[in-house]
Subunit: 195 residues, 2 copies
Amino acid sequence: MTTAKRDTYTPETLLSVAVQVFNERGYDGTSMEHLSKAAGISKSSIYHHVAGKEELLRRAVSRALDGLFAILDEEHARVGRAADRLEHVVRRMVEVLIAELPYVTLLLRVRGNTHTERWALERRRDFDHRVADLLKAAAAEGDIRGDVEVRLATRLVFGMVNSIVEWYRPDGRGASEREVSDAVVRLVFSGLRAH
Amino acid sequence: MTTAKRDTYTPETLLSVAVQVFNERGYDGTSMEHLSKAAGISKSSIYHHVAGKEELLRRAVSRALDGLFAILDEEHARVGRAADRLEHVVRRMVEVLIAELPYVTLLLRVRGNTHTERWALERRRDFDHRVADLLKAAAAEGDIRGDVEVRLATRLVFGMVNSIVEWYRPDGRGASEREVSDAVVRLVFSGLRAH
DNA sequence: GTCTATATTACGATAGAC
DNA sequence: GTCTATCGTAATATAGAC
């Protein structure tokens, strides 16, 4: 942090450019040429900072996964009814999604063509299962309705939460982070219908 | 339909193979070589049936969009409270998603790199707005909770419904179509929590 | 309808100058 | 740290035989 203005790239700053392009065009739809144009440097200069395209992907999804797993680490220390802890986890998921929006977006679109992508999918599955266990515990404590299967409910809740990356934009024009997390928690636990 | 066994391809039968590969590898991650291996014919033979890769995409997303818009055509003739009509539309969306699973899956993953993709995104937006209008009408009739913004609620409901393509498989092992549509309708309108 | 062979372009990555 | 030039490969698509 000794230089006031940074006009040369580090792996980190290059990553933020690359992830943006990946999310616009898709990872497979993005060439090194696209990245070089977006970053304003030549293709070969990119290789000075990172080993290649896949390293950028690995760094990006790692960052997303670290944010998500940190939720479970916090959660581990908490007490109280599972349903309340689940509500907290859902709210934190929304917060992490928004805080690390481009990185989580990329993570959620990974298909599994390369080794890095398959590793990311595996870790995502781990995370999903940990949250599913919490929902299962809440059901065992009688706080979750009995007419929806737990595995199915988990998937649908993940679907709603994860879909935020498809439309949330951090400009002031749309909903705020708090409005989104409130809406998700309300819909997930109480639904749309007026009482 | 004069031949008993069909061992030569039509655009339709080729499409079903192609869409499956597109969904496994992603559209951009799928080469004509991949398609030729999966179809068991050479690359050039594929060009005998279709003009190219993008035509396969166009046919696939058209089929998905036709299924979705048919819901609105049915809906148009219906009467009753908007909330009930919305519930019916949500249920029908799940049914169409499952009936046309690979085609809708591909539609929902389109990014917008080509003309065909941008056209698909536009038509999707049209559909979303039509459903959003129905939710707005239900809110105006007082049947939707007032503490969640309508535009936000629409997006989250779409997120939950659309996420079905990420895990639903039509083998007998998982949930049935009816179990899924029941679960979605229950969660969307009443939420997870036991009463 | 399907094939082999190939034209042409685009891609990821490297070499080496400055 | 960035560049131009280029290598080798893989991509879409076509030509023309059978």
